[in-house]
């Protein structure tokens, strides 16, 4: 007797009870012994109870085959016998119906709405197909049965089953299984016709996909829900359908939506099936058009799949499923999304233009710009340049929408996904942070803040796309400043948040801020380099954009003083923090020296204490290396620091920083690279003229080599050297004169090939004092040995032989003991020219800068870039502010704020430059009126502005009928007005003092020039800001030959030229001076004055020769030519006896 079965239930899983609300009589069954019996049982009966009995008996038979209970294939034989007996005869005119009795029962059950039989038929047929699928010799039966389904009558029966009411799982599920078996039959042989009949076969599929498991816990894999069955059918179809059908299937919006809607609630195995199939049959299907792919991979789907992050992983207890080595749901979803969102073939990612927003044409310059004339309207003529501060349109709008829903701060995988998407589509970075307003970097010690910091780190670290995302080379117009900036220092890194990070009492917050800023500065360096590359290939829009980028960057980062403050507050043991902070400070000096030099950071005390820490560390471990890295950064900073006292000894250290570093370099060599330390030593030595600074000089090498030849160097020798270097650095001229004297004695001419060394003279001079300190015998012996080695290595590295001989004589005279004198000799030492050359300061400057990741600009050693006159004009010409006659009437309706702050008053003041006496007089009257209006108002700066305007009118009144007012007075009034409205301006105090010092200004003096250049800044560190203001003011003061005459009278060019000998003047300030020179050349008589009165030609040549960059040299050279082109050539030629001509002709 067969086991009693539950009705209809889940085929293949005997003994399990189907959960259902219906309570019916359980079906009866009997054991089957042969095919004939089975045929009789299944014969069509009006009595559906009998039909059910037969179907149930058949099911039991099939179950035992599926469950491998059919050991000797006896059951299979019964099945084959039965199938043979009911096989329809082939008739030409009719399509054969397989299993006609079962189909009849089904039909009748459907008519009578007998759900038990409707279910039982589907169960039996699904099982039958499953059994047959593995049997090659029975293929013709399965094919026949499947074809029978496709007949209209059966199709309708299937459709009726599929659209049974919600809750009739026992009918719907087996039907879906039946369909799946049919689709999969013979590798999808019938998939296409089944899909063609989709009105019936896919009936209610979307609805059925919504009938998910609603019970407690996870769905039992042995009792799949309707949704699971429906999805498996859909996935099989996706796998097996041909292109056209797949396209149609994916276009069914309701099906796609239903597939994704509940994915988070699906059991793991189903999720894996879904993702695997989507990947294999959609993403990787190269023939499937992208527009079809995104029907299913739309933003909604991506969001649903992303919900799988954090999917609860239940440890599987099923011992019987050994293939548990599969990845977790989260891992699969992550891998799927990463592939889908970053691979352009997946259809989601569209090609884009990096930092250029969607819709802009970076090659179109406004039509007013005529290529032949190269009129430059500047970056503001690009209508979109400053349009994208609040929103950045992107091509990848689907991805942009999707990534907004991610939570990258709380999940490492989502962080990785987002960063991968950013890397593949850089346009999304700026857009993301514009939209993500809730992202606040204000420091809090929470997991979320850590997540924010991690994301920002990844984002800033992303590479800059080649050519900023423009295809094939740099575009004519640079990308919008806000977008570039948004990639270098993303919006959440606000000045306020960064300042808080540095100031709150949390080491971690400041450490993270410092690391982020380090990345930002590195990226800025890289971007500026790219701007430079771009500007040499096309117009100067890039140059202007770079300046603007820098200006805006300055606004966003904390002042270097904040970093210094934070650094000085760090504890000695905080090695990582100290290293990071020193690195950041160095980057400030390297990338944005203008900002760095504002703070007069005295690096010497901290350098000394770090040296001490490295010195006293008794063993070489990773902490020592960390301190050493910090020390290297500090040394590099010290090079930039004008206040660094390299040779000063302090009370708490035995030696000066220089000698201590020298000692470190010689003694601490185990396993360490001292290149950058040595680099600094070589640089300092040549900078302070301890050694000669020229290419064939061995520099400090002989000294170091001599010291290294000792196991330990006697402390007396260190003290002696410390004294010598200090003296030599203090009065280098003295020792240079000594060298001259020695050379004269030896009768050699002092030419380029004669290599000497000032330090050697100092040592010679000081030897007697070493003796007088009555050192021990061994010390003296070591000392003489050191001197000999020093001479030997000097000779070996190319120092002039007569000079060495003379030095030896001097050394010898200094030594009193005859025996010692005899011991002093010049030993033969091996030449290590190679090594010495490597350490030449110029090389080391490169080496040091090269340590930061940005590539150093290759300075072609002698090359001069060719700069054409038009190019020079672009770089240096600044248009003269025009005078607008209509300013006379425009001001009357404006408020005092508008008059002062929006330039109406300035326009009025400029009218004093007008050629027409009547306009000038009218302007004067109006200025008095404006002054009165402002004084009577409640405007906050009313008193000072009134004073300024009245002093101006008083000064101008008398001379007005003679001609225009000197430009310098007008320019000053306009510039001073800008200062007065901003009490935080660095010149606020000086301008106010100037105004209160007297009621009338001298028209032939240049206001404030003395106060700024001679008196020093009002606020510490504001010197360069003040100079920058002055240079802007001077440039505006140059319009007419009379202005040039005034500059001549007040010797302005001389002062400007002198300014450039300050080595800490930034390139921008130098550029401003060149602009003033250029302006003078464009005014009649300006070039003559510059050449004959101020030696401008030789100044330019000198500047050219010390410039490190080929383009910079080119600019100076081009400016010399400009002088020649614009001067009175006949006169200048006679004056210089043809000299200027020759220089230009070179």
């Amino acid at each position: 007797m067969a086991k009693r079965k539950s009705y209809g239930g889940e085929g293949g899983h005997s003994g399990k009870k189907q959960k259902t609300a219906h309570v019916h009589d359980p079906p009866t069954s009997e054991e089957i012994y042969n095919g004939r019996q089975l045929r009789q049982l299944l014969a069509f009966e009006q009595d559906l109870r009998k039909a059910r009995h037969g179907l149930q008996s058949f099911k039991n038979l099939l179950d035992s085959i599926v469950n491998n209970e059919d050991q000797d294939s006896e059951k299979l034989h019964i099945l084959q016998e039965f199938l043979d007996s009911v096989k329809p005869r082939e008739q030409d005119d009719e399509v054969p119906v397989y299993l006609p009795d079962i189909m009849e029962s089904w039909s009748m059950a459907a008519q009578l709405n007998n759900e038990n039989v409707m279910s039982a038929v589907a169960v039996v047929l699904a099982l039958l197909l499953k059994v047959l699928s593995g049997k090659v010799n029975m293929v013709s039966y399965s094919l026949g049965i499947c074809r029978t389904f496709l007949q209209k009558r059966q199709q309708e029966l299937i459709a009726k089953n599929l659209s049974a009411d919600n809750g009739k799982d026992f009918i719907i599920s087996p039907t879906l299984r039946l369909l799946r078996e049919a689709v999969c039959f013979d590798g999808g042989a019938l998939a296409a016709p089944i899909f063609r009949a989709r009105n019936n076969t896919f009936k209610s599929l979307a609805r059925n996909m919504g009938l998910r498991y609603l019970g407690e816990g996870v769905e039992d894999p042995k009792r799949p829900s309707v949704r699971t069955n429906a999805i498996r059918f859909l996935l099989s179809s996706l796998k097996l359908l041909h292109l056209e059908a797949k396209r149609d299937l994916l276009s069914q919006k309701d099906i796609v939506a239903a597939l994704m809607r509940h994915i988070r609630k699906d059991p793991p195995s189903l999720i894996h099936e879904i993702l695997d199939t989507l990947k294999a049959s959609v993403i990787l299907d190269k023939k499937l058009p992208k527009e079809i792919k995104i029907r299913i991979l739309n933003a909604h789907s991506l969001i649903r799949i992303a919900e799988l992050y954090g999917y609860p992983e239940v440890p599987t207890e099923n011992e019987d499923e050994p293939e548990r080595e599969r990845p977790t749901v989260e891992d699969s979803a992550h891998a799927f999304l990463t592939a889908a969102c970053t691979d352009s073939d997946a259809g989601i990612r569209r090609s884009e233009h990096g930092y250029y927003p969607e819709g802009v044409d970076p090659d179109a310059v406004p039509s007013a710009v005529n290529d032949d004339q190269l009129v430059n309207f500047g970056i503001d003529s690009i209508p979109w340049m400053s349009k994208f501060e609040n929103d950045v349109p992107v091509r990848n709008s689907l991805l942009a929408e999707f990534i907004q829903t991610l939570r990258p701060w709380s999940s490492t995988k989502q962080n990785e996904l987002l960063v991968a998407i950013f890397e593949a589509s850089p346009e999304l970075v700026a857009n993301y942070f514009c939209q993500k307003k809730s992202f606040s970097f204000d420091p809090k010690l929470t997991a979320t803040w850590i997540g924010y910091a991690a994301l920002l780190y990844n984002v800033v670290q992303l590479p800059v796309p080649s050519w900023f995302g423009h295809a094939k080379g740099y575009a004519r117009v640079p990308p919008p400043t806000s977008v570039v900036l948004g990639n270098i220092i993303p919006l959440p890194m606000t000045p306020k948040a960064l300042a808080r990070c540095l100031s709150i009492k949390s080491k971690l917050a400041s450490f993270y801020a410092i690391r982020l800023l380090t990345l930002s500065l590195q990226k800025l360096g890289r971007v500026l380099e790219m701007y430079q590359e771009a500007s040499s290939s096309s117009d100067s829009l890039w140059g202007e954009a770079a300046r603007r980028l820098l200006d805006e960057f300055y606004q966003k980062i904390p002042d270097i003083k904040e970093i210094i403050k934070c650094y000085l507050a760090m504890e000695q043991d905080d090695l990582l923090q100290r290293q990071a902070a020193s690195r950041l400070l160095l980057l400030y000096y390297e990338v944005i020296p203008q900002v760095a030099l504002r703070a007069r950071f005295d690096v010497s005390p901290i350098l000394s204490s770090t040296i001490k820490r490295v010195e006293t560390s008794d063993k070489m471990d990773e902490n020592t290396v960390m301190s050493l890295l910090e020390l290297e950064n500090l040394c590099a900073i010290a090079k930039y620091s004008p206040n660094m006292r390299w040779f000063a000894r302090t009370a708490d250290a035995p030696h000066s920083p220089f000698i201590t570093l020298l000692r470190l370099s010689i003694e601490k060599t185990t396993g360490l690279s001292n290149e950058s330390l040595d680099g600094v030593l070589y640089w300092v030595a040549s900078e302070h003229q301890l050694v000669e600074d020229r290419p064939n000089s061995p520099g400090l090498y002989p000294l170091i080599a001599a010291l290294k030849s000792f196991d330990t160097v006697d402390s007396a020798i260190w003290a002696f050297l410390d004294n010598c270097v200090e003296r030599c650095a203090r009065t280098p001229v003295k020792y240079l004169e000594m060298i001259e004297e020695q050379l004269r004695k030896a009768e050699i001419s002092e030419d380029e090939d004669t290599v000497t060394c000032p330090l050697m003279m100092t040592i010679a001079e000081q030897i007697p004092f070493f003796n007088s300190s009555s050192p021990s015998k061994t010390t003296l012996k070591a000392f003489v040995q050191f001197l000999s080695e020093y001479l030997g290595y000097s000779l070996a590295t190319g120092v002039s032989k007569p000079f060495i001989d003379a030095s030896k004589e001097l050394f010898s005279t200094g030594l009193t003991d005859q025996k010692l004198k005899e011991k002093l000799r010049i030993p033969k030492r091996k030449k290590h020219i190679q090594e010495a050359q490597e350490h030449h300061p110029n090389h080391n400057a490169l080496l040091l800068n090269g340590r930061s990741d940005q590539a150093v600009k290759e300075s072609g050693t002698d090359s001069i870039a060719q700069i054409q006159p038009q190019d020079l004009e672009q770089r240096l010409a600044v248009p003269i502010t025009t005078i607008k006659d209509n300013s006379l009437s425009k001001w009357t309706s404006k408020t005092p704020e508008e008059l002062v702050e929006e330039g109406y008053a300035s326009s009025l003041i400029r009218l004093l430059l007008s050629e027409h006496p009547s306009i000038r007089k009218e302007a004067l009257v109006n200025i008095v009126k404006v002054a009165a209006k402002i004084k009577d108002s409640t405007y906050e700066n009313n008193e000072q502005v009134w004073l300024l305007l009245m002093e101006l009118t008083e000064s101008a009144r008398d001379s007005l009928s003679d001609g225009p007012l000197p430009s310098v007075i007008v320019a000053f009034a306009c510039k001073a007005l800008d200062v007065l409205i901003n009490p935080l301006h660095c010149l606020y105090e000086k301008v106010n003092l100037f105004l209160t010092s007297g009621p009338v200004w001298s028209l032939d003096k240049i206001p404030l020039i003395q106060n700024i250049l001679q008196e020093g800044p009002t606020e510490d560190g504001a010197f360069y800001s003040e100079v920058s203001w002055l240079l802007g003011f001077l440039l505006e003061s140059l319009r007419t030959p009379a202005d040039v005459a005034l500059f001549h009278k007040r010797r302005v060019p001389e002062r400007l030229f002198a300014l450039t000998s300050n080595p800490f003047m930034g390139p921008n300030l130098r550029m401003q001076i060149l602009r003033i020179v250029y302006r003078m050349t464009s005014i009649e008589g300006g070039s003559n004055t510059l050449i004959t009165r101020f030696g401008a030609v030789s100044w330019l040549l000198a500047q050219r020769d010390i410039a490190t960059d080929a383009v910079e040299r080119g600019v100076y050279q081009a400016l010399v030519r400009r002088l020649w082109d614009t001067c009175d050539q006949k006169r200048i030629s006679a004056w210089s006896k043809g000299g200027v001509e020759r220089i230009v002709g070179q």
Binding site: A447, Y457, Q461, K507, L576, R583, E622, V625
Partner: protein, 101 residues
């Protein structure tokens, strides 16, 4: 828990994770070993320097789920600021220090 325990706890967890990731990549070539060893030093030193802050984060309300992994990830990000040469210097020094002992 007392804060001392917390600190030890976090350090312990971080070390476990750092150690685990080092183990995972053990089969990779030498270049990665250096970077792994440097990362492990960097993490160790971080837990020393930021013990107090790490405690606070561990006690924050939102410290759950992926938070430990995120914390380790964010801490070790900083290693990318060190050049390969500097990482090697550090690791070598560590080894030579161990040999001396």
């Amino acid at each position: 828990m007392h804060s001392g325990h917390n600190s030890a706890f976090v350090t312990h967890r971080l070390n476990i994770i750092a150690g685990k990731s080092a183990k995972l990549k053990k089969n990779m070539p030498d270049k990665n070993t250096t970077s792994q060893e440097f990362t492990s030093y960097y993490l160790q030193q971080s837990t020393k320097e930021f013990a107090e802050d790490l405690d606070k984060i561990r006690n924050a309300d939102d410290f759950k789920g992926d938070a430990v992994a995120m914390l380790v990830k964010s801490l070790q990000q900083g290693t990318s600021l060190f050049s390969a040469a500097d990482q090697e210097r550090t690791v070598k020094a560590r080894k030579s220090g161990e040999e001396e002992e």
